[in-house]
């Protein structure tokens, strides 16, 4: 049964931070610990602290919300893997929320969401009244954007929206959270071609 005022812990490590939001009914508290590296060591103790600061334990949670990117590939895998482990250990759902959904939460359509990518690029997704279009990666300077753009959010507002979007999906069947990379893995076939095999 759906809890009337759910308790959800959301977190995100898609950029240079460990970000957490604890949603309890209508209230949300957030914590952002900035760090360029070391998220894998810092994340679990920090989340346990966020809960204990609110007088809660892990067993009080109804769901986990997790930021699935796009962003730093290693960073999004850290959070997604942790969320999947927590879901398995707690027998509660882990709900993946991507950065575009967090940025556009509650905004009127149509709207475009942009997330910084390396080397002057950005990840982009258009949301129309007919639904979201496929996300893509663009070079910002070459790609003028028509129509409204979702305002940039602070890390705290971003992770709070991950918690809100996750809360809206409670009770629905959820796929396991999976990273949203947008960009394909860098991999090239071997340069040396295979030899011709003679009859």
């Amino acid at each position: 049964m759906l809890p009337k005022s759910p308790t959800i812990l959301a977190f995100d490590t898609s950029a240079a931070h460990c970000a957490a939001a604890l949603l309890q009914g209508d209230t949300i508290t957030t914590r952002i610990d900035e760090m360029a590296k070391g998220q894998a060591e810092h994340l679990m103790p920090m989340l346990t602290e966020v809960l204990s600061d609110a007088g809660l334990t892990w067993s009080d949670l109804d769901a986990i919300g997790v930021g699935t990117g796009p962003g730093n590939f290693t960073g999004i895998r850290i959070s997604v893997s942790a969320a999947r482990g927590l879901a398995l250990g707690l027998s509660i759902p882990a709900i993946g929320v991507n950065g575009f959904e967090a940025l556009t939460h509650g905004l009127p359509l149509p709207i475009t969401a942009l997330i910084d990518a390396p080397r002057g690029s950005a990840y982009l997704q258009h949301f129309t009244v007919d639904g979201p279009q496929a996300p893509e990666m663009i070079v910002v300077a070459d790609h003028p954007i028509d129509g409204p753009i979702a305002p940039v959010l602070s890390a705290a507002d971003h992770v709070a929206n991950i918690a809100r979007v996750a809360a809206g999906r409670l009770g629905q069947t959820q796929p396991r959270p999976a990273p949203l990379y947008v960009r394909a893995a860098d991999a090239a076939p071997p340069r040396d071609p295979a030899p011709v095999i003679l009859p």
């Binding site: 994340l43 927590l86 250990g89 095999i197």
Partner: protein, 363 residues
């Protein structure tokens, strides 16, 4: 009797995602072992692509764990501790396993132990054959090649290893050069069956030097040159050329491992072990002719030859559960701040063979 422990093991350091349940008391029993390979994902690229491997692990670790628990007929409530590979290996994959393990341990309150992947391999002869210390171990796979004297559950002395590539990697490269499918090991072995190893002369690098260190990089280059010479002459390779080249390459690897193992055994015998044991682990241990050569050597030197069954010889999580369980039984565990480590030599006293730059030794 020792208190029985049931351990969940997790492994994701290369291109296999694995989970296992092992019961440990005075003996060790593998209750479940699940391994999901990624050969199909990497086949087009002629080798393991780290980012592709990491992406696969991130979406498979928890599923493997559920399958292993189901296979053992258990739930997390039946588990006493979690053991996870935290290095050395491809860091993206290692991180996925480590974070999933930390998530489960945090959620359940179960103790967690960080396990060195190489220790998992090196302790496997104790899991499968209850071998006693000290024994000599040859770990030979796609990513590793080293001789270790196992003196205790956490005491390993590395007495030699490759200074460049691992033989498994050389088999993969050979398969690429000869137009054979990946992974190279079994395909090169099959092609070599009908080949004449004497048709081509390939070098045995470092055999002329004392000690147990090995090199396989020059062998790869020599094979490339031999192949190119044939291609230049005929415009391609005949099936016979391909078999001959495969056979010549395989014999060179076998000769190197044979002679270096002889030297490693001599060094091991100086410890005067009550029972002489040589154990082999890693994917290359599955190669028939190499295995036969090393068995013959052990027979000649009155040494027991131990090769764990193939599913425990190649990457798996049962070995991680076992190695972690040994640490848990000794009263050790880790907190949630332990790191995933791309580089983590098992023997940090031996001089670095690989990656001796400022980041330190690789393995």
């Amino acid at each position: 009797m020792t208190k029985a422990l049931t351990i969940l093991g997790i492994e994701s350091s290369c291109d296999d995602t694995a989970a296992a349940v092992v019961r440990l008391d005075d003996t060790a029993t593998v209750l479940a072992s699940v391994v999901k390979g990624q050969n199909d994902l990497h086949a087009d690229f002629g080798g393991v692509v780290p980012e592709i491997a990491a992406r696969a692990h991130a979406e498979r670790v928890d599923i493997c764990i559920e399958e292993a628990l189901a296979e053992a007929g258990m739930t997390l409530g039946d588990i006493d501790g979690i053991a996870v590979t935290s290095g050395p290996g491809l860091i993206g994959g290692v991180l996925s396993g480590v974070m999933c393990a930390k998530g489960i341990a945090t959620a359940t309150g179960l103790p967690i132990v960080s396990v060195n992947h190489l220790a998992g391999h090196a302790l496997t002869p104790r899991l499968t054959d209850a071998v006693t210390f000290p024994y000599l171990m040859l770990l030979v796979s796609g990513g590793h090649c080293q001789f270790l004297i196992a003196e205790g559950p956490e005491t390993f002395r590395r007495i030699g290893g490759t200074i460049d590539d691992a033989p498994g990697e050389a088999f993969d490269k050979t398969a690429r050069l000869l137009g054979l499918p990946q992974p190279g090991g079994p395909h090169v072995e099959r092609a070599a069956q009908t080949g004449d190893a004497k048709a081509f002369t390939l070098p045995r690098p470092l055999l002329d030097r004392a000690g147990c260190d090995m090199s396989f990089s020059g062998l790869k280059t020599a094979l490339l040159r031999a192949r190119d010479a044939v291609v230049t002459e005929k415009g391609g390779l005949t099936e016979k050329d391909r078999s001959d080249l495969a056979a010549a390459f395989q014999l060179a690897v076998s000769d190197i491992l044979f002679e270096k193992t002889r030297r490693a055994l001599t060094e091991y015998f100086e410890l005067q072990p009550k029972k002489r044991v040589f154990a082999i682990a890693g994917g290359v241990a599955a190669n028939g002719p190499i295995r036969a050569a090393l068995m013959a050597l052990c027979a000649e030197l009155e040494t027991d030859f131990v090769a764990p069954p193939l599913n425990l010889c190649t990457d798996n999580a049962a070995m991680i559960a076992y190695a972690g369980g040994v640490r848990l039984l000794a009263g050790q565990s880790d907190d949630m701040t332990f790191k995933a480590r791309p580089r983590w030599p098992l023997d940090d006293r031996a001089p670095a063979l690989l990656g001796s730059g400022k980041k330190g030794a690789k393995a």
